[in-house]
Structures are given as C-alpha cells and as structure tokens.
Symmetry: D2
Subunit: 157 residues, 4 copies
C-alpha cells in the first residue's frame, strides 16, 4: 500500500494481533461500495471500541485505472467525512488485481474480510453485507475465548 489517509503511519495486519480487524475494500465509483459498504465501515468504526476492533479501508481498482489517483481518494474521504484509516491499494504489475486484494483473495468491490485477535481470517464476503449479521460476527469475535477461536478454525479447516 502506498498512500494512507486518516493515520499517521501505515497499518500492518501483522502488527494488530490482539484486536479484531475489519478490512473493507471499496472503490469510489462502485455503486454498492458507496451505497452500502463504505457507510457500514464508518459505522463499525464508530460503534466498536478501538481497543477491540480496528477498521481499515482499502481503495482498490480493477479497471478504470487512469481515472484514479490519490487526489480522487482524498477528495472522496473529505466529502464523505470518513474517519477510519484508508489505504490506496498498490497496483500489481503482474495482475489486474491489486496487491492487497490479491493477498486476501478478494474478487472485487465491495469486499469485507474479518480477522480474529489471533490473526486468522474468519470471514470473506463479496458484495453488500447485512448490518445485523456483520455486527453479530464482529461482536462475537470481540468476546471469543482463545479456546473457541481455535475450535472455530479447526472446524473450518
């Protein structure tokens, strides 16, 4: 990731052990991102305690590359009054999928990835996600015991 907004330093998921991480990928010209995913990410940021949950926005472009640059994203963040940390994903010269999107196996925007306190990916979603359900999943992860987390991961494996 090359450019960051709303944070004074880049955030690495590997540096966030002990917290639930919500990774919300969006694109400023993607209708579902704007109508649903971006406002939801902002509300998750407002509702949960920073000691429990970190929200990271990821602006990712699969096409229209010539339309986007850091100035567009900066203006967007200003107009929508977004407060959570947001990164501009780094294009991957070897693929149409940008770097971070590729690492987390995201297929497009909007995408949402939940990472538990131990650094394990617990949910991948592509498309709009229901508020009640995602609230429930994040809320559960914040209270989950280490034993329950291990059991959930082994049953998923």
């Amino acid at each position: 990731m090359q450019s960051w907004f709303n944070t004074d330093r880049p955030l690495l998921v590997s540096g966030l052990r002990g917290k639930v991480v919500v990774l919300a990928a969006f694109q400023v010209l993607c209708p579902q991102s704007i109508a649903a995913a971006v406002p939801q990410a902002q509300r998750i940021y407002e509702i949960f305690e920073p000691k429990d949950v970190v929200v990271i926005g990821l602006h990712a472009t699969f096409e229209h590359h010539d339309a986007f640059n850091a100035a567009v994203l900066k203006a967007f963040i200003h107009e929508y009054r977004l407060k959570f940390p947001i990164a501009l994903d780094q294009p991957n010269p070897a693929s149409p999928i940008p770097h971070t999107m590729d690492r987390y196996k995201m297929r497009g925007t909007p995408s949402l990835v939940l990472i538990d306190r131990h650094g394990f990916v617990r949910k991948h979603a592509f498309g709009a996600v229901d508020d009640l359900r995602i609230g429930a999943e994040i809320g559960a992860l914040t209270q989950e015991s280490a034993a329950a987390a291990a059991a959930a991961r082994s049953s998923a494996a």
Copy 2:
C-alpha cells in the same frame, strides 16, 4: 401473558437460563414498531442459532384497547410472516401499562430488552435500535465468558 403464537407453550424467561433472550415489545399500529422493530426481531430470529439466542415478541397496548384482540394479532403475524414466538401482553387492571411491560420497566413501543445467559437484564432500549449495534451486542453476549458477564454486571451496579 395470556395468548401465545408460534410456540406450543408459553415461554418463561426464567426457564431460558443459558441462552441470550431478546424481548421485543411492539404494537401493530405503532409506526416505528412496524417499520423497524418487528422486521428486526424477525431477522435476529433468523440470524442467530436457537441454541444461543431466543427471540420473544410481546404485543403490548397502552391505549386503543378496544381496537385490539387476539384476532388482530393473529392476522398481523400471518400477513408479516413472522416465525418467532409472540405473546399478547396481559392488561394490568391497576395500571395503563400491561403486565410484562411493567415488570421489565418498558415505557412504550417499540422496546427491546436483552437478557444474558445468566438471566440478568443487560440492555433496555426504547425506540428504534440500530441493526449494527444490536447485532454487536447480541453477538458479544453469545460469546461472553461467565467472568466477563459478572464484571459487566458489577460495573453496571
């Protein structure tokens, strides 16, 4: 409570220890109940596992008593395709507040009460409740340890 729907026997909160209980009070002619609280209760019922969360609807009338009866509530449940257990609250001859509403100190409709696995009331809300927030609170209660529950109750006391 006198009449029940969607259950073959009355549900007592005292008989539900070990589960999170969501008590959703509504009235069929109350705009916020119909637009927000009743659909939300149905979705909570759909999203959470029955082994973790029990949703109980409570139809409660503060006024217009002559307009309501079990036939109205039965028709309403049919039209809105509600599947969770719903009781018709019992009028209290000594008060305009029906019996169960009074026991849980509800002030009107819609109201939502969350009860933890140990039988303690953890949230009271009057008016519409945000989906993301209530999802988070219920999700957290489903995973909460006994020690965390005790700590939360003592800090609230």
Copy 3:
C-alpha cells in the same frame, strides 16, 4: 361506505367532477400498504392543491374480517397522523370483495385508481406504485386539456 374519517360528510366520486381523484385502497395489516401506499397517499394529499386533486383512502378487507372494525381504523389514522379523508369499505354479502373495491375492479391491497376531471378512470394499479411515476401522472392530469383527455380516453377504448 359506512364509516368516514377526516371529513364531515361522505365523498362521492360523482360529486367531484372538475377535480382529479386519487382513490387509494389499503388495509392496516397489509405490509405493502403500510410501507408504501399509505405514506404515498398522505404525501399526494400534502403536495397537490385541494382545488386540483382529492385523495380518498379506502380501507378494504378481503380476509381477517373478524380482526377489523372502525376502532382499529380510527386508532391507525391517529397513530400514522393521516389527514386525508378515509372510508371503511362496506362488506358485500354476495362476495369476498368489498363494495367499493368491487365497483372499481380492484383485486387487492394496495390498489390505486386515478380518475380524471371528467370522471373517467385513467389508471388502475395493484401493488406499490413508484413516486416519480404517480407524481407525473397526477401532475399531467391536473393540466390536461379537455381535448387531450378525450383523445386519451378514445385511444384507451
């Protein structure tokens, strides 16, 4: 029609020549009526001038007859703060379709019928109707010349 609310006398469509009439049939336990048709009828009533457009609500019951009475409708009108004239449709002993619904060939709720200044039915709709489209149709009828109205009727015949 037997009971009327928000008017000091029954309204007959035949007595409203010279005005566009919007006849909005609904039922208090019908989800689409409550979510869409009733608020839309109230807004039509607020937006158009009474000299141009008359809105008439019609509460009509196809089933659950034992659940409804004038007290339910009165309480509903109070809770939703409806201001336009509303009638309780008269059951038809010979049919499950109430009297006025039958006269205007309505199939269920919600239904909307538009009648032009000359007393001719110009639109029948069953189900929710788009705000922009119905606004356009009513607006056009308010300005329509007698010649245009005659042409529209003959092309529909």
Copy 4:
C-alpha cells in the same frame, strides 16, 4: 461545455424549444448527488417520453479540481449505467463556479433546473428533491397550455 457522453452532439437548451428540459447538475464525489439526484435523473429519463422531456446531466466541480477529469466521469457513467446525455461543465477562469452552473445561477450540487416548452426557467432547486413533487411538476409542464405557461411566468415575475 467541453465533453459530452451518451449523445453524438452537444445539446443546447436553446435548441430544445417545444420540450420540457430537466437540467441535473451533480458531482461524482458529492454524497447527495450520488444517493439521490443522479438516480432520480436516470429515472426521469426512463419514465417520460423523449418527445416531451429531455434530461441533461451536468457534471460540475466547485473544488477538488485536480481530482476530476473526463476519465473519472466516463468511468462513473459506465459503473452507474447512466443512459441520459451528460456534459462535463467547463471551468470558468474568472470564477470558482463553472460556466453552465453560473449561467443558471446554481449554487452547488446537486441542483435541478426545470425549463418549460417555451424556454423559460420554471424551477431552481438546490439539494435533494422529492420524487413525488418533481414528478408532479414535470408532468404538469408536459401538459401545460401556452396560456397557462404565460400566466405562471407573469405571476412569478
């Protein structure tokens, strides 16, 4: 106006006498434009007959000038599947208000201007506009007689 989309030639309001013209100014990073005004303009385009109503979109930038270019607007039109003619407003070197926005005295985005069949401006709106009301106003203009139009203009003067 320098760049046009969804039309094979620039549209001049002066060349559209005989039709109602809806001029919808928006900006791709303006929340109210995206949530309300742009979808509304598309629906106006779909609902009315081209022989009666012409919809013209106008992308106008008051700030963030470095974020915008024709490539952003082109990608936006593609993603939102917009079909009506849209122009990129021309910056005015002497003012922060772009050229066409200035000519029609628009104060920001979203703005909507209605022009009657005789070329007179009949409505200016800044901010989101109610669907039912704008439908009614456009519908009325499509049927308005020349005499009624003249009367409306003289009463507004």
